[in-house]
Each structure stands twice: as C-alpha cells, then as structure tokens.
C-alpha cells in the first residue's frame, strides 16, 4: 500500500480537482481530505456519510468567578495574552494549563475542547475520510493525523493499493502533518510568480522530511515563459515535471456539476490527467 499526498504551497492551484480525478482513475484506493480547515473534496465526490465522530483535542482554561480574587497573576504570566479582565479568551488560549497550575485560589479549571468532527463516507469511487475543524480552532495538525490514520486503517483492512490525500495549502502545521511518512508528494503549481515562489518553499519542506516529490504545472498556458522557468528550475533540482495541464474552464464546470473533471468530457485535459496518474502509479511501484 502506498500513500500519495497532493500539495501546492499556494492555494487554488487545482489540488482538489486533481485528487478528485485520481479518485475516478485509480483502482483500489481510499481518499483522505487533509485540508481540514476548508475541505472541498466532498463537493465533487458526492459522499454518503457512514461515520460521524466528534474530535476532542486539547483543553481551554476557564476562570471560576466565585473563587477568583482578581490577584492578576494569571494575566501577568500568560504568554499568549489570553487572559484579560479576569476572563479567558478561548480563541487565544493555547491550553497550556500554566494558569491552572499557578492560580493561588484554585479558581481556574481546564475544560476539554471539542474542536471538530471527522467522517468516513462512501462515494462511488471508494471510501473518503474527511473532517471539519471547528471554527477558529487549533490542533489542525492532530485532526489531519487522525484523518490519515483512519484512511490507513481502511486501506489495510480492505487491502487497498493506494491512499490518496488532498493536502492543505501552506507549509506549516497541517502540511507537515499531511506529509510526514507519506511515500510520494505531488506538487501542483501554476505558472505565476506566486506559484513558483510557493513551489520552492513546499519543495524545501518535502526535502526537510525526506519525502520524494513530483511536479505538475496546472494552467501551464496562462504564462508559458513562467512554465519554462518552472521546468528549468525543476530540471536544476533533479525534479520531474510529470504533467502540464492546459487552462480550461472545464475545471470550474466540473466543480459546478459536482463531478471529477476527467468525467466532465474534455479530451485535452482528461488525457493529460490520465497520463499524470499513470506516471504517478509508476513512481509509486
């Protein structure tokens, strides 16, 4: 069993459209949506939810007003600026418990925090593990780890060949959590100055964690000079560019229709994504 994670650094380069297409093209796989902040894969895979669990993670401090003598020690010591006027702002509180330990009046309690939900759904392409982080919550990395762990469990139980993960944008906590220990990263970029800059950063993260990477240039024809710059850069880095997908409104139409773009019928785009999946499955052997 092999795990592929699709990343990009920059948002909006087409990760989810490509993962949804792989869902339609790959045999024997489980899908994982690791963008738990803003999960979109379910919008094109039309899932039927089978399992819905609460995700409890971390704690938040709460001050008992009756016991609090307003000595102010907690406010002085909190490094996160989470306590003002003898009240804890749950959004700023990082749940470290420092205040709980030092309060001379034992007026602070730590409450368990429900920080989201995770789901297992059936789709016509196989099982999808996805999640929704609560609004303004922390611990996205832990929720991503849970999504991957569940996907792995399904893949092992059903003896599936692939875990295909839709990763989050950026390079921080949830990206590291999506990437560590995966077999291969596909980096989806676009020929813009931002796309190139962000590709370089996310590639550095892959290297930092020792994960091999392949590159796909999406919308390559919106700026062919930039696309050549990306190809030259990748060549210099010993990195294979495994697909160049043309810009086509069929991507948006497919999203509006709630189907993977390869099932929306545009030969040029479909062929390129089929060839991309072929090259990835070869690389995962």
């Amino acid at each position: 069993m092999k795990e592929l994670v699709v990343l990009s650094g920059k948002g909006g380069t087409g990760k989810t459209s490509i993962v949804a297409s792989f869902a339609a093209l790959a045999q024997s796989k489980v899908l994982a949506d690791c963008d738990v902040d803003a999960a979109d894969l379910q919008l094109v895979l039309q899932p039927n939810m089978r399992v819905n669990h609460e995700f409890w993670s971390g704690q938040v401090a709460v001050i008992d007003e009756e016991k609090c003598t307003q000595c102010g020690l907690c406010q002085d010591l909190c490094r996160f600026g989470a306590i003002n006027d003898f009240r804890v702002d749950p959004v700023s509180c990082e749940g470290c418990g420092f205040c709980f330990h030092i309060c001379p009046d034992e007026a602070i309690i730590m409450k368990e925090n429900m920080s989201g939900h995770w789901f297992v759904s059936d789709t016509k392409y196989g099982s999808l593990v996805h999640a929704r982080l609560g609004i303004a919550q922390e611990n996205s990395g832990k929720l991503v780890a849970l999504v991957r762990q569940q996907a792995r469990g399904i893949a092992e139980g059903d003896r599936l060949d692939y875990i295909i993960s839709d990763g989050p944008p950026g390079i921080g906590c949830p990206v590291i959590s999506s990437l560590s220990g995966a077999d291969l990263a596909l980096l989806v970029t676009e020929p813009t100055q931002s796309g190139i800059h962000d590709l370089e950063r996310v590639l550095d993260v892959c290297r930092h964690f020792g994960i091999p990477a392949l590159v796909c240039i999406n919308k390559y024809d919106i700026n062919e000079d930039n696309s050549r710059e990306i190809e030259d850069y990748c060549l210099g880095q010993g990195l294979a560019v495994v697909a160049k997908i043309p810009f086509d409104n069929v991507f948006t139409e497919a999203i509006v229709n709630g189907v993977p773009v390869v099932e929306h019928g545009q030969d040029r785009v479909t062929k390129e994504i089929e060839s991309l999946w072929h090259r990835i499955s070869q690389a995962l052997r």
């Binding site: 803003a38 944008p169 813009t192 962000d198």
Partner: protein, 296 residues
Amino acid sequence: MWSQDGEGMIISVASGKGGTGKTLVATSLALSLKGRVKVQLLDCDVEEPNAHLFLRPVITQIEPVCISVPTVDMKTCNYCGKCAEVCVYHAIAVVPKHVLTFLELCHGCGACSYLCPEKAIAEEGREIGIVESGHSDGMNFAHGKLNVGEAMAPPVIRKVKEFANNDGAVIIDVPPGTSCPVVESVKDSDFCVLVTEPTPFGLNDLVLAVETVRQLKIPCGVLVNRAGVGDGKVEEYCQKEGIPILLTIPLDTEIARLYSRGITLVAGIPTWKDDFTRLFEKIGDIVHERAGGPKR
C-alpha cells in the same frame, strides 16, 4: 480608532479558500490609498508570503522570531518530574538521571521553568521564522517567513502585527483557511474583506470564513473575483445573509496575465484604482456607522 481619513483603520483581506485573489486585492487596495492616507501592508501569510513579489519592497530590517524554550541545568535538576507533568505539549520528558526536551513541540508557555521547584530550568530563544520590514514606493511594508520545517505560524504572525502603525491605514494579507493562523491575522481588525470566487468551492469556504469573522465579531464584506465563471450561488448566499458585495472583478485573461507576472492590478490597469478607492470608502462608511458615527 478610525477617523475619516482612514487613520488607524485595520482592514484584513481573507478568504477561506486559497488562490481566490487575496494578495491581488490587498496589494491593489494598499496602492490605491497611497497618497491619500498613510498606508502600510502587512503580509501575515507567513507560510507562503507573496505580497513582496508584487510590491518589491526595500527591506531595511530583519528580525528573528523566537519562542522561549527550556534549557535544563542538569547540576541543579533532581529529576522530580514536575516539568514533564505540567507540559501538555509533551515537549519535555524525565527519564532516570536525564531530562529530554523536544523543542519543536514546545509552544513557549513558560510553565516548566516557572514551576520547577529547583529553579533548574532557564529559557532561551529558538528561532522559528523571521520578520522583514521596509518600504515600497513610500508605503510601509512588513512580512513574516516561517522557517521551513516549522509548524507554528501564529508567533510569527503576532510579530508581523507588532509592526502595525497606528497613524495610518493598515492592510493585512491573511493566509487561507479558518484555523489559528487566520484568527491570529484577522483579530483586532476593524473590517475584513472576504475574497471569493463564484464556484461551489469558493462558496463552501466563504461560508466557513464568514463564520470565523462573525465569531471574532468583525464586520465583513465580500469581494467576488473571477466573476463570470461558475454559478450565482455566492450572490444568493450574500443576499440571504445580509453581507454586502463590495466589489466584483471579472474573469479576465489580461488580469490573470498581469498577476502571473507579479504586476498588481492597479499598476497594470490603472482605471482599477478608482474601484479600490471606492471599496475603501465603502469599508470606511460601514466601520464608521458601526462605531455609532454618522455616515460621511
């Protein structure tokens, strides 16, 4: 507090979904205000900062961002285990005759050093990123860069926001998503512009972004980018929720081409400057009205 010429007003530009045009909007809004009010752009997308690619600022100052992590004096330590007991991040462990620290897990809360009965724990700074500041054509600029391999963006974002001027308009470019880096970037703003695109992905993530800014009690308005693709559901949603659509930017290959080359919309097509100036005025009216003042 905000005054009529935009003094002290903080406007954040967020989206939920990535790649909808936050940086395009933030840079063009900032450039349109230049000469009218003192303006500053803070790029809080410290994982993938891009505003500098468009503004090409002169960087005059580079500061490291450090979090305070423990160092244990093994001569004083008696292995009582208190530090490991209080650390919720599992960043410190006590084994027979030794203390192990896992500094990449440490949030820098300071509990272990304060609570050590032997006072055996000191703190030292561990760099997780940098903040670069300077100016771009008369505009103040600062952005953060999270070091590769580091997980925690919020401390870098907090440091970028320390550079905020309080005598001008501050435009904040926010990272995508809805979790802690977004909250850290958006909080304390007077207004949040939510940039979206009229597709099911754009709408899904806009709804999440609206919930986030509402939880933070920050007024918001929507900017629809790439209008003409997709469907009309974003407009329907905004109407139903009473969220103003402040500006619409059409799907246009010329705009996409400028963006791909790192050219801001107002530099490439100067007529857009008026649209962004009006966007700023609309925001000013909403903020002013909310603060109880009369409409200008």
